[in-house]
Point group: C2
Chain length 337, copies 2
DNA sequence: AAAAAAATCGGAAACGATTGCACAAGATTG
DNA sequence: CAATCTTGTGCAATCGTTTCCGATTTTTTT
């Protein structure tokens, strides 16, 4: 039992606990001599002030809650990495939760965070339109929320996104330039502004070229990888199969690759593929994969910086609406040539 | 400001705060009628008891600290996923830290966790031999530690590992069976029992076959990806290059692929490759990669189960030495045929 | 040298929840 | 019918920090 507290240090040193506390926090109203005495003893005992007591008293926990729909996804992983890098520097900890693309899970997580466990929340929504009630709770409790990627439409707050429309537009344009006549757009069917924007970019590229697109090839998928791959196999098994694919999600790009490999359809000769993804090994795939990579790490670090700045400065209103858009990067490789 | 507390609820309901507290915790000594009154009001106000106050009083935070050397690595990611799955069920939160393969960072993280922020720590060490002083601190403060993968040799505790010697043995044997005469063993040069065991497995396979191995081909690498790839390129540029590779770390397998691709050396015809890795896309690489995958998710969930069982049951001594070994899985693909 | 200002430190009240103990009323027992 | 037991609730201490107010001593100013 670690019964060693500030009070204990105080008794050992014949000081009041208030003095010890101030010394530990390097207050100016403590003499250098006593400061040294306190610090020395604290160091020698590996003393670390009780985090819960401090949090209770200060009414802040110095930790930030992060909620992502899919932790295994490379994009979210890199975002978290970016968040952590900044948070570490600023002395904040991160508690990461996985909503598994499920709004109900997300609600439960948020509810469990209403009791002061975190000072703020960074979130990418499981579904942007279904419910925002739990986000209202946070506002009531005065817990700031920063959104990224999948942001809430009708809730004010800081929102970091990427230029989904433009990047999808460029990706599609590239496929058209390579001679594709019949491109499939593969998206996730949850209602997300991200998916919509990417679809719009897809359509815009066609319109601009004066080429038609097949509405039946704007396909929405669920979150079951096996099922997704199956429906892709049936899609590509047809003689009138698409000759190009824009995958608006990493898992769909992968599923496309697997399906085409299985059917022995040659990429890029029979089907060209471009996929949104942040995977690290796109250059090592067979064939190497043309990607649209979101600036994930930067997104995370930017979020954290903005948020912590707001937490530190009382004058900044973190509930005010503010939108920042960062550019993704299209990298053309074998799969679309 | 969320001024809504138990005391506030008590006043609203003309009850004592103790009664409200008991009602919220479903104590048997509160009548169903008052329980319902309390729960109803709490629900309608989205009340959630202050986590810091509770933690302070209870002397436990219901959160577990996780320290890994490299968060981006797929293996650690999956372990964390396994940890979280169990922790969520049991009502525990996870705070994940990245030591970036640096013992000093690791020490700092541990030190910052000495103040009751976490009830226990799950760790994979940055370096197993350099220092264990910070692990002693934890014992002094009575904070249980569970090790996984890179475990401490001289500190007692629960340790989860995988069968590194055997799996490296089988991987090497496979390469020898495929006709390799000159296999390089690529390891990380930090002192880890994992690396040593894998190297032993490598050697054992040679000995058993009565084949010699080249000691200069037992190579240790650092953590700089660019540098690693360079030295691999010089290795394979030589005429007398190896005809097989056993990579004992994911990043080294990747670096090998990149180096060989760059030098236009054909896998598997000129060099066969087997790599330890938990990447999801090994089957999609060019060529598909033969892998030894650790049971990462299972490792994480097993750790969490064991730990939480111990935290709940005072009779279990979490500081007692206990070793559990889980089997990895060798999957043979194109790169080694 | 007296007055004012600064430098140090102590006492005690918070922060919000849990819990041992006390106590009242009603139910049960001999 | 008195004595004992249950049941339901309130009081107050406690967890370990931080910080508002003073109080005392030392330094500076006039």
């Amino acid at each position: 039992m670690s019964e060693i507290t500030i009070k204990y240090l105080a008794e050992k040193l014949n000081l009041a606990s208030s003095t010890v506390s101030r010394a530990l926090n390097d207050s100016h109203e403590i003499s250098d001599k006593t400061k040294k005495r306190v610090l020395d003893l604290a160091k020698s005992l590996n003393f670390q002030p009780n985090a819960n007591a401090r949090s209770l008293r200060e009414q802040k926990s110095k930790t930030i809650g992060v909620i992502v729909p899919d932790r295994v996804n490379n994009f979210f992983n890199l975002v978290i990495e970016g968040l952590e890098t900044v948070c570490r520097e600023e002395g904040y900890s991160l508690i990461v939760y996985n909503s598994y693309e499920d709004v109900e899970q997300e609600k439960k997580i948020v509810y469990s965070l209403l009791g002061g466990k975190v000072d703020a929340i960074v979130i990418s929504l499981a579904d942007e339109e279904k419910e925002v009630q739990h986000l209202e709770w946070l506002r009531e409790k005065n817990i700031p929320v920063v959104f990224f990627d999948r942001v809430a439409q009708n809730v004010a707050g800081i929102k970091y996104t990427t230029n989904d429309l433009e990047s999808a537009y460029h990706g599609t344009k590239h496929l058209l330039d390579q001679g594709c006549k019949k491109i499939a757009f593969l998206g996730l069917s949850n209602t997300s502004s991200v998916g919509k924007a990417r679809k719009e970019g897809f359509i815009k590229a066609h319109n601009e070229k004066g080429l038609p697109y097949d509405k039946t090839l704007l396909i929405g998928f669920g979150h079951d990888d096996v099922e997704n791959q199956k429906s892709l196999e049936t899609l590509f098994y047809k003689i009138s199969r698409p000759d190009g694919v824009l995958a608006a999600a990493e898992k769909l790009g992968i599923a496309t690759f697997r399906a085409l490999h299985k059917l022995r359809i040659k990429i890029p000769y029979q089907v060209k593929v471009v996929s949104f993804t942040n995977m690290q090994f796109a250059d090592l795939l067979s064939p190497s994969l043309s990607t649209i990579a979101q600036p994930a790490f930067e997104l995370g670090s930017a979020c954290a910086k903005e948020l912590i700045k707001g937490l530190k400065n009382k004058d900044i209103d973190l509930f005010e609406d503010k939108k920042i858009e960062l550019p993704s990067k299209l990298t053309i490789r074998e799969s679309s040539k």
